[in-house]
Symmetry: C2
Subunit: 368 residues, 2 copies
Amino acid sequence: MERCTIRYRILGDEAETRARADDLRHEQTVELPADLLPPGFIPDEVVGQVEAIVPDGDACLIDVSFAADNVGGDLSQLLNTLFGNTSIKPDVRLERIVSLPAALSATLPGPRFGVAGLRERLGVSQRPLLCTALKPLGLDADALADLAYRFALGGIDIIKDDHGLADQRYAPWDERCRACAAAVARANNETGYSCVYAPHVIGSPEQVRARGERAAEYGAGALLVSPGLIGFPAMAALTERGLPLLAHPALLGAFTTHDSSGISHGALYGQLLALAGADGVIFPSWGGRFAYTREQCAEIAAACARPLGERPAIFPTPGGGMSLERIPEMLAVYGPDVIFLIGGGLLRHGPDLVTSCQAFKQALTPVS
Amino acid sequence: MERCTIRYRILGDEAETRARADDLRHEQTVELPADLLPPGFIPDEVVGQVEAIVPDGDACLIDVSFAADNVGGDLSQLLNTLFGNTSIKPDVRLERIVSLPAALSATLPGPRFGVAGLRERLGVSQRPLLCTALKPLGLDADALADLAYRFALGGIDIIKDDHGLADQRYAPWDERCRACAAAVARANNETGYSCVYAPHVIGSPEQVRARGERAAEYGAGALLVSPGLIGFPAMAALTERGLPLLAHPALLGAFTTHDSSGISHGALYGQLLALAGADGVIFPSWGGRFAYTREQCAEIAAACARPLGERPAIFPTPGGGMSLERIPEMLAVYGPDVIFLIGGGLLRHGPDLVTSCQAFKQALTPVS
């Protein structure tokens, strides 16, 4: 039977982690100790198998394989198999999906565009992409659309809703989406660029489905999705709308706040969000308002560039407190296949938003 | 404008945490610093407001109020407002929803049954309820249904799928659900009890919706739901099926593995899962296979008994490695309004499953 191989990092020496791994391979499958299992198929095939243990500092990296049939071709069940109950245990981290059998991989979702597809959509072949956010929450739809218009005139490639924008009475979802998509289209007519607007698709399953459809009707060119809020499967279903997806990490941060537990930065952003359909994954870059390190950000970028199975590479999308001055050091880490997300930094840069956008785009010229 | 009040625990002294709280109230709303906001409505109403700071050991408990209109009556946006970006920051924990305005509370979901409603459904007025799980993964539908039959004969109140059961070829979802619901109905005919079967509803949004409907058609009496896997909004939508919901914490454990960050046990299990519609919340009790302490478990039970707004109290459902011997100490902490979840402990107790179930039920007699 085909198996997928998953790497965990468990604190402790080899003997301790071997015992923990034996627990994990049962916890993530049969939830019974070995002596309560009927002999044969279940312990031989269904239970996870420890494939390798490699010491790694104060921990061990442990590869466990699971029967692909346990997953049943379902993204939510894949999450369950990888880390469902083990998420509740201390001192164990989901480090990496090492391999998925091709037949299983083919039944799971993934990015529809990726780096090459999104570049083609946006008509930008080589340079980093520029993304910004419509904010602050509390502006009305017209004010947000006016912002979008000026961002688009300035040459921003992707204009997304701030992820706090939902369906508030300040700027109701449909009114905002229609106005901002129209504003961006108007700017594109003037500039000849292919800027896209990405509304935040949030709400109940029915609202998410309907808003995904209406976003396409209104002319949105991408969708912003927060799987921590609406669920990974709801995000994956939005790939059917035929629009690129930008994933936002709202509520997912708890997986990465401690190195000893949760999910590694690479696996969360570069693997799980890609499986859920992300063409770009937003995360807080080092040196901004959040606490990710340069190494953790580099790990995300590396995972984005190393897709699972036949999927395309996706864009790391660092944000969370960027400024013009930081572009060179960020380019050095991320390389050209990156989406720079700049929000407040654009608003702060100068009094004229169009000029500020142009300055940011100019700063990317050396690599274009 | 009406506001909800949320309590956070931030590590540091009063001056440090005041600065962190000032950051948080912007991060969770406008995502811009104060000097970039237009004066008036947005800083005065839309931005969060620090209402109280109370030192608490090496941290401070900080109450922040948010405009109810920021939430827009949507569960996913409530999660976003409470902890979206802040989940990514270290040393800050979502401690408790202190209050929701009645008008906002009324637009959010919640349990349809609660303690009283579920007791009425099951015909059990006072004693703790008994729940068990169909396992191990790898058995076929007939074998699982045979287990369900014997559990029901023995007097178990709720028989749930193990949360690892999805739509595997070993026991396809529809075949399993139909067979187990029928087996429990057959046992109820013999015993006169009102045991219910709770299949695990998992999959894509469309599958979750369809499986919720089919579960009701097949005669399931409750649903097992894992919001960490399918999303909180998808769980909330299942309340419309008219069946009690049992929530499983798969993948949510990362919120509770460190005291300094994530979400408190009480807020996660007793508030957020209740808002998503849980009538009972499964969690790993102290002394079993997991690491929750007695105090953390008591906090969950207390939060379950103290509902938000007009909602009913819900059942704490401790599991994760229980045995007959532990019932007295667990009763002392949880009291009678509890669902005891016993899986492997029943299988281990003795050779005859029906007799083992009866022994567990007998152990609850002192309080029935």
